[in-house]
Symmetry: C2
Subunit: 339 residues, 2 copies
């Protein structure tokens, strides 16, 4: 079986991230990771008629850029796998309409990046496609409209709230070419600690990240020293601190420098983002920008990326439901460093 | 490559539909296909606090039934793949929370059944899971609330409109066991003929079905006589008539008895469903109920199932966008009848 434990997929045929496209908005141009974006859009509208269409454009442009940087043709792409936070994932669908690749829509909120990367790796590992395009986008203002409307003038947010990243990160996965190797994927279960505060999603999602990380270590029968870095998706400063403590409580003793969070690291202290970044683009731009770059520099040779998603809707919150969460993990390893 | 053409996955390791669970609502108990459901819920509320929770219950119950009928344990399931029409696919997510299997959320509206079945077949073909659970549910009243609210008292619908099926159909896919073999999957592109009427989704989706069917025949290099039956998802009476004519125009001459549509066949003439059934459950209950049963009786030995999805949202309709559509095709063949 190309399976370890119950839910960790193995990819012995070495699918790799052979190319990426990473675009941000104006706010991201001032972030900690600004050097890891290919370029930035100058304003939130991006000459589009709506914020949703701006999000669509980000995804289209990041996709085309990944194809261009891979030095392949658009028609070489076998499949496009993507999704987003918006109702019926319409920005992604309209991008897929423009790109005209065969298309699989997925939904796991901010865990979209690792769900898509897991599927892309599986497909290429099974020789069911040569070049798979995957990625995710989000847009601060489109997300605010859907989840937080009406956004009142002067309305305050609690310190646990997070800032949706405006951007898109895309990758091309193939067994041919060079780049970080996708060695395994651990698919998470829905974990729901009965939290009900949509302004504290980092806290709601932390237990899902912990569950998937522990499952991954158990399935793979490895210890805490295996990875140079374990990085969660968008728990933010508060959520990632909870995650680190929970992992320790549950027996996984990481060194502090072994653990990061995309949402906690992306913005500067001086940016007014409360607990940090979030959104489907958050793990997408950090993974396909910063992490891929640092792996190429061999700052890190073995990384576990654990994107997390809060799977509630405005309707379920109004109906009094708790916030169900999920996390999917992907291990990336430089060739020569795989055991 | 386990690929034919650009986007038709091949499954030489013979993943099979080894078990199904099919549940309907009270309206479906009076349908043409009532004998192909395992059982029916007596009312739309199903003792739940909301229609969305009733939809969740349908999916949970159909999933558990498929596991029970396969004579395996819940813990034997490696992965649950599902999605639905609701914002952020929350009924599916809350079902996944109760089932506690590793979970991949997908979104392709009423094409969810074939997207899920394609992925389940790929995963088992790649030996990345022994038992994969997949399926889809929809609920008439939950869908009306989201897409057609306010549903006015006495408000009339045009004859092109369709009736969302209340029900759930689930299947367990495995390379071990007996049942119809999933031999290939053709993944569709987004096709958008710039139609803007959300009360004529059959017409909007028909060209997507046509595109995927023609791609499948080209990729597989087969002719119209290959399949005993080609069945589209939920085009309804009007949309399926358009599809049949378009296929003929484009050079695929099917005999009338070779072509059906889940939405056109599910309800009786006497039921007030306008152009027919729709919803994510429509192709799910017809595929995992009627079609699997008829294949077991060898009424059909080779079927191409082409579930179709209209990927718009209420927001994109209000913003004046057209209705982007998709279709994913799955070929099911009885063992001994594969060429």
């Amino acid at each position: 079986m190309m399976l370890s434990g119950k839910s960790t997929w193995l990819f012995p045929n070495k699918p790799k991230i052979i190319s990426t496209g990473v675009i941000g908005g104006p706010f991201e141009a001032d972030s900690n990771l600004s050097k890891d974006f290919d370029y930035f859009k100058d304003d939130l509208w991006m000459e589009q008629a709506s914020f949703e269409k701006a999000q669509q454009l980000l995804l289209e442009d990041a996709s085309k850029l990944a194809v261009k940087k891979a030095q392949i043709n658009e028609k070489d792409i076998n499949l496009f796998i993507s999704g987003d936070l918006m109702n019926q994932i319409t920005p992604t669908t309209f991008a897929a309409k423009m790109l005209q690749h065969p298309y699989l829509g997925i939904f796991s909120a901010c865990a979209t990046t690792t769900e898509g990367l897991a599927l892309a790796a599986l497909i290429t590992n099974n020789h069911s496609g040569k070049y798979i395009l995957t990625g995710a986008a989000s847009h601060h203002a489109a997300t605010e409209r859907q989840y937080r409307y009406p956004t009142e003038y002067g309305g305050q947010k609690p310190p646990t709230s997070q800032w949706t990243v405006t951007g898109a990160g895309c990758a091309i996965v193939s067994t041919e070419g060079e780049g970080p190797v996708v060695t395994s994927a651990t698919l998470g279960k829905v974990i729901d600690m009965e939290m009900t505060d949509p302004f504290h999603m980092g806290g709601a999602m932390a237990p899902a990240a912990v569950d998937t990380i522990l499952t991954h270590f158990k399935d793979q029968n490895i210890d805490a020293s295996y990875y140079d870095l374990i990085i969660t998706g968008d728990l933010g400063k508060i959520g990632s601190s909870i995650c680190f403590d929970l992992l320790k409580q549950r027996g996984l003793h990481l060194q502090r420098k072994q653990y990061e969070d995309c949402g906690a690291m992306i913005y500067k202290e001086s940016q007014p983002v409360f607990s940090g970044g979030s959104g489907a683009a958050c793990p997408a731009v950090v993974t396909y920008g910063y992490l891929v770059n640092e792996m190429k520099k061999q700052t890190y040779n073995k990384i576990l990326i654990v994107a997390t998603g809060a799977l509630h809707s405005p309707l379920t919150v109004k109906q009094g439901d708790s916030i169900p969460c999920i996390a999917h993990a992907i291990s990336l390893e430089n060739e020569g460093d795989q055991e």
